[in-house]
């Protein structure tokens, strides 16, 4: 349940942020579009909950590794 809520929030924030930055629509339209996108993600995530947890978990570990390599690279750079 909490994962679905977080995914909803994440998709809302990302879509709202990008729409705001690109300035394609007005503020109200941005809000409506991002809410629609977020609800779509919410329903999809309830349907594919199990798979999404695996994907996010794997992606997170992958990101952790990438961060480590970036830190090593930056520490080496003079």
């Amino acid at each position: 349940m909490i994962l679905q809520f977080l995914l909803f929030l994440l998709s809302f924030l990302i879509s709202f942020g990008f729409l705001k930055k690109t300035k394609v629509f007005s503020r109200t339209v941005n809000l409506i579009v991002s809410i629609v996108v977020a609800f779509y993600v919410l329903f999809a995530s309830t349907y594919y909950a199990e798979e999404i947890i695996w994907i996010i978990g794997g992606l997170f570990l992958f990101i952790l590794l990438i961060f480590t390599f970036i830190l090593i690279y930056l520490a080496r750079k003079k």
Partner: protein
């Protein structure tokens, strides 16, 4: 002691600290990249919070969060070891190549002479390509000050600056200008 049905130690090391780590890293990354524009601090912080919470909760529900402290310890050691070996390797390659090229046997004065000479050559090439007179004058002044540094070094090392073609042309130009 248990908090929310989780052991306190597990809560701190497997959930809270990884969460904090990712939150700070993501926030810094989002702020630095300015992906959502200039003044998007609230959005950046919320996004970092949501993404890190999502990651930590999904890892917890998969039972993988238990391994996070071990993974962190392993990565810290691996990072240190790899940096150490990269450092040793890089230093070894640098030293070996300097011995092969003869750079390692040069004195400080010789190295300095080479560096200033190279700089002078670059300025001279730039001077020749330049068509704007005011820029040409400033480049010539820059070249003169570099040559003034180069002359005592050349005397000390027993080298003649006339063996460099750019210096001959510089002197010709200077004497020509002085004669006018």
């Amino acid at each position: 002691m248990e908090v929310f049905g989780i052991e306190l130690q597990e809560l701190i090391f497997s959930l809270f600290l990884p969460f904090l780590f990712f939150y700070i890293l993501l926030y810094a990354l989002l702020t630095k990249s300015k992906i959502f524009g200039e003044n998007a601090n609230r959005l950046n912080s919320l996004l970092a919070l949501v993404i890190s919470a999502l990651g930590i909760f999904s890892l917890y529900s998969l039972g993988l969060s238990y391994w996070l402290p071990f993974l962190a310890a392993f990565l810290a050691v691996a990072a240190f070891v790899s940096m150490f070996f990269f450092g040793i390797g890089g230093y070894g390659i640098k030293k070996t190549s300097s011995y092969i090229s003869g750079e390692a046997f040069k004195t400080e004065d010789e190295k300095r002479f080479e560096a200033i000479k190279k700089n002078c050559e670059e300025i001279w090439n730039e001077f020749e390509k330049e068509s704007d007179i005011s820029k040409k004058a400033s480049l010539f002044a820059k070249l003169e000050s570099e040559i003034n540094n180069l002359k005592p070094l050349a005397e000390k090392l027993g080298k003649s600056l006339y063996e460099f073609p750019w210096y001959k042309r510089y002197e010709e130009l200077k004497s020509g200008r002085g004669g006018q």
